[in-house]
Amino acid sequence: MEYFTQQLINGISLGAIYALIAIGYTMVYGIIGMINFAHGEIYMIGAFISLIGFLLLGTFGITYIPLALIIVLVLAMLFTSIYGWAIERVAYRPLRGSVKLAPLISAIGMSIVLQNYVQISQGARVKPLPPLIQGGLTLFSDNGGYPVRLSYLQILIVVVTITLMAAFTYVIARTPLGRAQRATEQDMTMARLSGVNVDRIISLTFVMGAALAAVAGLMVTLYYGVIDFYIGFIAGIKAFTAAVLGGIGSLPGAMLGGLLIGLIEAFWSGYFPIGYKDVATFSILVLVLIFRPTGLLGRPEVEKV
């Protein structure tokens, strides 16, 4: 039971991170119908900016952790937003209206470019960051069983994720910006005819997705303490799996899918050979694609006309 609880805690923290990345995939897919394969790289760049930010703040003598966290968070979101915006501008917008495969190939190209760019500019070696947030709570320790650790960092991850998702859901459901995004997603021609600047809405969608990925990057840097230029690939593919599992194009689906992928991974690692955890995750992707291609919360492609 204690062991189970521990896996649950680990799974939820991991799932929160996947969910943050998955939102970027699902939003971009919803609005322009393409898989932005460079999105994992955005997350990786977010992690690197966080690392650099912490090191810079350290040299400037800002060591008060909450302040440093906030500064780094803002920096990471700002810079990755610029990346997200630029990627859409350079790699996807010129291809809008051409065959569907073209932006997909362009996305893969962009992904390779960004990976190599970071590899060359930051070096290929693994970058460590000393743990900034230490300590935590120990649950069920008095009954002499397996001690369950709930670290402060895990609490932080879950709290930040839930806050961001709530804010995000509010923006999409209730604000004029969110309404314009949904309108663009449902009927781009009509959104234009209603006076929506569709290009701007698409840019903003990339910016929003990138900002959330930056938060995930920051969390991972703190959580694992090591990053390298290659982390975007696996995390990106897993978040993509999460988005598909939840139903690509669906925002609650991305959140649920992220959580499920995190849990599957944690429980598999806890009870089965850990080396097969990625196999387990991607088997889920295959099963979903075979038996429920629209995902858990996705909608079937039928609509009353």
Binding site: A180, R182, Q186, S194, V196
Partner: protein, 281 residues
Amino acid sequence: MLTIRDLRSGYGHIEALHGIDMEVSEGQIVTLIGANGAGKTTLLMTICGSPRARTGRIVLNDRDITRMPTHEIVRLGLAHAPEGRHIFARMTVFENLQMGAVTTPPRYFAGDLERVLTLFPRLHERLDQRGGTLSGGEQQMLAIGRALMSRPRLLMLDEPSLGLAPLVVRQIFQIIREINREQGVTVFLVEQNAYHALKLAHRGYVMVNGCITLSGTGEALLADPAVRAAYLEGCTPTGDAAATGAEQDNVTGDRSRHPTGVGPSVAARASATGFSQRDRG
């Protein structure tokens, strides 16, 4: 209000409009009739900037909008309720109306909403329902209501009667007349339902294969033998449709530019589409 000069436009390698000249004057209802595939929808979409005009000029209220992006054209007081209604299916009726008001300052919203809901009481009952679940007639009302939310000076309607029950069609045309008379909105109406449209309109244009072949007042076109043969087959001539000789002179035929004019094949197509217009409302 809207002036079009020598407009050519189309999709890909196909030119759909071969030099259109027309005029929509302030305060009028102007209708454009023609068979399926004549280019009516292309004309309206070209006015909105997508597809782009290849040559020619489109002037709206003294502003040249030929090269303007769509969302900016809409801000100049032009609203378009496109063919097929284009309701945002997964948004509520209320949100659809909010989308119509994207270009207007928020302080007008409450009053405009009130006005649209008075015009279409049915929408009031359905405010929280998703657009995709409405019936065809309700969707058309929503499409017009949404267009009105942008406080247009020129309202363009593309086949508002398509696929609707005769009773609903009459209702829609009644409302168009009201919008024009009471709210002073200029209306540019594209229709296949030529009889209703010409009865309503101050001025009409006939389009055949991407060219304007005839134009004149609504009554004059209703009385024109060529129009009658091609578009009004099966419509019983009524008193108000009968034309005097003076009105007959208003018809400016231009059949020389288009040698076939409104030939029998067009007439056959027009009556064929008449049959296919079943009640789906």
